[in-house]
Amino acid sequence: MKRIETSRRHDTRWGCWIDRRKPLSFRFEGRRYTGFEGDSLASALAASGVMVFSRSFKYRRKRGIFSLNASDANTLVNVDDIPNLFAERVLLREGLKAHAQQRLRFNPLFVLTFLSRFLPAGFYYRTFFRPRGVWKLWERIFRKLAGVGLLPQTKVAHHALPRFDKAYGFFELVVVGGGLAGVTAATTAARLGVRTLLVEREPRLGGASFAKDIDANMDANLDASLLQAPLQAPLQELLQELLQAPPDALTVMTGGEATGLFADRFLAVVEAKKRRLHKIRAQSCIVASGAFELPAVFRNNDLPGVMLASAARKLMRGYGVVVGQKPVIFAANSFGYQLALDFLALGIKPILLDPRPVPHIPDALSIRDHHIVCANGVIPLEALGKGRIQGVKAMIAGSQHFFPCDCLCLAVGFAPAAELLVQGGAELRYLETHHCQRLISLGEGLHAVGAVAGLFEPAKVQRHAEQTAKAVARELLSLRSLRQKTKTKTRTKTETRAARHRAKPLNTLPAPTLFDDAAQNWHDPVFPYLRGLKRNRSENNEKDESHKGKKEFVDLDEDLQISDLHDSVRDGYDSMQLVKRYTTLGMGVSQGRHSNINGLRIVSRLTKEEPARLGLSSVRPPTAPESFSMLAGRSFQPLRLSPMHQRHEQAFAKTMVAGSWLRPAYYPPPPQPLGETEARTIVEQEVRSVRTSVGMIDVTTLGGIDVYGEDAAEFADRLYCWSYKKQLVGRARYLLMTDEAGVVADDGVCCRFAPDHLYLTTTTGGSDAVYRALLFWKAQWNLKVEVTNSTAAFAGVNVAGPLAREVLQGLCEGIDLSGESFPYMGVREGKVAGSYARLLRVGFVGELGYEIHVPFSEGEALWDALMQHGKRWQMKPFGVEAQRLLRLEKGHIIIGQDTDGLTLPHEAALGWAVSRKKPFFIGKRPLEIQVERGITKRLIGFSIPARRHHRRHHKNLPHECNLVMHEGAIDGRVTSIAYSPTLDRVIGLAYVSQSRKTLAIKLDNGKLLQASIVPLPFYDPEGERQKL
């Protein structure tokens, strides 16, 4: 491996973020480089002279460090197989392997840059689809070209995957941003006793101030020789105080990025290093997220080596990297001049180009003694160079000048990084006086300090941050004492805390007169090439602006040039919302951070609208890219298991999911996986045993609700369709529940154990919904009734089959199981296998059967007793598949499968369960109205003679949801279908518009199959077997 270019690291000066004693080696694009501990990948590469990090999205132009702030996609790299990471956010470590995500050296797609004429904004709306079918060809090409990063190709074993976690957090005050403003606010608030969290994205505090930023883990000894600028002193003191603050009052989180602010100050904070997503509820939030620098737009402003002044400053001061030996600084504010001083401190003479026509006195004075080239009234024309910047051409006083350089720094202004605040309801407006966006109102409980609020001067920042923090602390402490007082009062207070709190909203924004922007932002850093060439800048000359492919990049991520915005406006898409969507301005990785404001200025000029009136599109979370793993970490999928679950597992039952429960579907013989045909055979065997001898099934999942009180029957009467007031104690009745529109909602059985005690069962999936509905209606009526959800209080087993009575006789105490004393549709209480039990004798599968409900904790014991006792009769358990088949043979419907969101009881053959005499039940009147109008469909039973190949392969048999056809039109659909071993026919349920003799079902392959309509139930129509 050839060693790379000479190091650009300065030996001794600055680099306060790195530790020169700890070198680290890493690889980029296969070559080996060295950096230091504390370096980011970007700074280490910059120090090693690497200038090209990627190729741009559309034109595949070479790109390098631009903002060093995740405000552009130039530095997206693939690190250790993880794609799309910002190189400036990756902390360097030993052995790191990084790759660019495009071909850096010889990229054949670079030819696109010469075809830019044919690729204006929105070109894809008008091309690639003629002649017909040509898109298939283009699509294959685009799939290869599009996208940025590549997902890892190697599979990682599940247990070797890193684990991601989540945690909730609760604080009274969260301060986002650990620069001077943030640290001031946090320490002030903590001093006053407010529970504060300070969140800072970088691994160190300090923000844009280049003090010796103190990592909270490091020693507090401060090296005086590293103090470089006047704002260091106040920050040092604060950081000292920070280290001594009690942990209860102030928590500091470095390496945490707040990516979203949701309603009522609910923050998402991503702590990438610890792989944890924090969901933090703050009562108040002070956002000190700073400002990001804006670029200038001119020809070839995307060349590697052209960067923002803040990036250059970070590289030099923070990482000790000399960004260039022959720098040119395009400076429209004092920040650029300060950068010039930084270069001078390294012994390098920069060239200053200032667009301001007249020298700005303080700036000019600062560099007076250094004899450097400084020009005013400069209009940049273009940056020149092949693959990296080699010089700058500019127009000064009407004549062109060329400045050779190896680095071009742009300092034209700042915009507030107010995304979080805007998500929380703040309003940004473009102020003409300051040539930038400013916050003019904040959401409730939100405050802004520092550069995001428009203040840059350190003394001002500190004062405002202190004032804000004090005001916020006062408000929070008074709320705290208010909340403690209300705890002792009764809970029927009607006034909410929020109403009281909202009475006097706190306004902490600084007055506009305090803003420092006016000196910071250049009003128009957009310099179209052709306009610059002309001596006098004619504002209204359209021809100036209509220049194709002059490579003045507005949005680096999307490779948008000024001409693209022109095209958009010319095509009629001239509001900012339309420009954004048509040109994709601001839709790239940086989400408009470096492109939106300049785009706004250009469109404003073209449409002759005020920037303030044009506005910008809204900002949504996340403010920074989040990995899916972070969002998926520690996710919860509740699972409910019956107490007999272990027994099912030990019997190798195949489980299925029913709602949040796991139920055994069938019990295969041990333990190899079964194919579909074998599984069906097992199910048919289970069905046969139940019909001929006896079987048992775990029915714990069915819901149970206990209703107590003297009005219990009246309550049931009002909620369900049938009548229960005259139901005798010891009897069971069918329950059908309809919703307010008369649509079938749930069904079950109502058991009366006492005059004031009803036990209502529900379907497995409906227990929660029914319980809530019962509570809702209970609250509407003034009845003497109490309702409790006993679903998990009872475990249940249903013993069904002609031998059921024989089997249970030996286990029951206190219950006479004979047919006379315990008839069909009866309920009894007693003991089974020593446990208190409720026995229900209901239809279930159409055989003699008893449903036994025992306390949940005794379920397993009951199962064991039944299995043991039942050995004599070879009683085996059966599962849900067999249950469904048995019930289908009896024509029982499944709510949700044989009914849908519109099915009325009369349509589902349940009209008999609707009382005509009751004065009221939920859904009564709507049901009456609809029945009057006429029932348009009916659920009927059909049967198909079974052929041998039907049984074995189930080919050419209808499936659920196959359509029923009549005279070429759709007449209904099949809702359930299965082969019945008991009847040796294929039976099913279907909806039809009219009851006929036969129906025609359209199979999946398009053919029609004739089936005969038969009355329900298919098996034992008189119901004799269940009344044994």
């Binding site: 309603a263 805007v422 109403a499 506005g615 509570l775 809702f776």
Partner: protein
């Protein structure tokens, strides 16, 4: 959501059933009244009293919400709401004026 019994909790713990409506008469109600009650939602842009459920405790209560700003103005237990309705005095809830010019 400031639940009247449990205090302020994340909105994820709650479920909104819809506005508080009175059912038309079960025997004398006309088709139009019933159809309007069941299928035509007023969808008012303004202050609405709604039924809310606190899922973990299956507790129903009433909340007054400004549907334009999604702010919860006040909450009541069912008994308190009933007494409040019977008195026929509506408390003065002050909806916060929010002017948003950033387009969504």
């Amino acid at each position: 959501m400031p639940c009247p019994i449990h205090g302020e909790r994340n909105i994820a713990e709650f479920f909104c059933k819809g506005p508080v409506l009175s059912m038309p008469n079960a025997t004398r109600g006309t088709r139009q009244q019933w159809a309007r009650y069941l299928f035509l939602a007023e969808n008012k842009a303004g202050i609405v009293d709604e039924w809310w459920l606190h899922s973990p405790s299956s507790l129903w209560f009433v909340a007054r919400r400004d549907t334009t700003s999604d702010e919860i103005l006040q909450t009541w237990t069912i008994e308190a709401y009933r007494t409040q309705q019977q008195k026929k005095t509506t408390p003065k809830a002050t909806p916060k004026a929010t002017s948003k010019t950033t387009t969504r």
